[in-house]
């Protein structure tokens, strides 16, 4: 079966523009997670969804970041008014159930110029 897919794979945007990053989880996985991996740094946990609900949004770096999930499937991470420090690889993962084994997508590499 298909794994977790993310699009776009690469995104270059100008400072101040808005970007949307998409994650398609494995079919039937109820939990979905977003992470950020900066160059030379570890993975930073951003937000998770149980179904369409995100119980805790405190991991999002600023109020320019938002995420939603619809239909218990696709999720979108939106960054408004991008800044250079937002440049990173954004990874999405899904699991069959909450706290289950996470399967990661290949990530979206975001570069803000």
């Amino acid at each position: 079966g298909a794994g977790v897919s993310q699009s776009p794979s690469n995104k270059v945007t100008e400072k101040g523009k808005d970007v949307e990053l998409r994650c398609d989880p494995i079919s039937g996985h109820t939990a979905l997670y977003w992470y950020r991996q900066s160059l030379g740094q570890g993975l930073e946990f951003l937000i998770y969804f149980q179904g369409n609900s995100a119980p805790d949004k405190s991991g999002l770096p600023s109020d320019r970041f938002s995420a939603e999930r619809t239909g218990g499937s696709v999720s979108t991470l939106t960054i408004q008014r991008t800044q250079q420090e937002d440049s990173a690889v954004y990874l999405c993962a899904s699991s069959l159930a909450w706290l289950g084994e996470q399967y990661f997508g290949p990530g979206t590499r975001l570069t803000v110029t």
Binding site: G42, L43, F45
Partner: protein, 112 residues
């Protein structure tokens, strides 16, 4: 703030050598995972440990969870070039709500 520190940060060894990577925290985790990540890909889960003192083996890889569930180690026997990659530990804990954090990572290079 919960923190998972890994050591060493970088490791370059010859094929056939043994190595150990450590993952340490001052906090207790309900479970701990080890992942391997290759360039351009997401992390791939290697193992989950749950019980303090637990030891799991995956071919040449041996994983141990500390008795107090605050630390873990990954030992690779007779390393091969195919073991090259970024090794990450990660742990789950609850602080009002669910949190999941990754360690700082160990970048391993095995030379043929």
């Amino acid at each position: 703030t919960q923190l998972l520190e890994q050591s060493p940060q970088f490791l370059s060894i010859q094929e056939g050598e043994n190595l150990t990577v450590y993952c340490n925290s001052s906090s207790v985790f309900s479970s701990l995972q080890w992942y391997r990540q290759e360039p351009g890909e997401g992390p791939v889960l290697l193992v989950t440990v749950v019980t303090g003192g637990e030891v799991k083996k995956l071919k040449r890889l041996t994983f141990q969870f500390g008795d107090a569930r605050k630390d873990s180690s990954l030992h690779i026997t007779a390393a091969q070039p195919g073991d090259t990659g970024l090794y990450l530990c990660a742990g789950a804990y609850t602080s009002g709500t669910y949190k999941y954090i990754f360690g700082t990572g160990t970048r391993l290079k095995v030379l043929a």
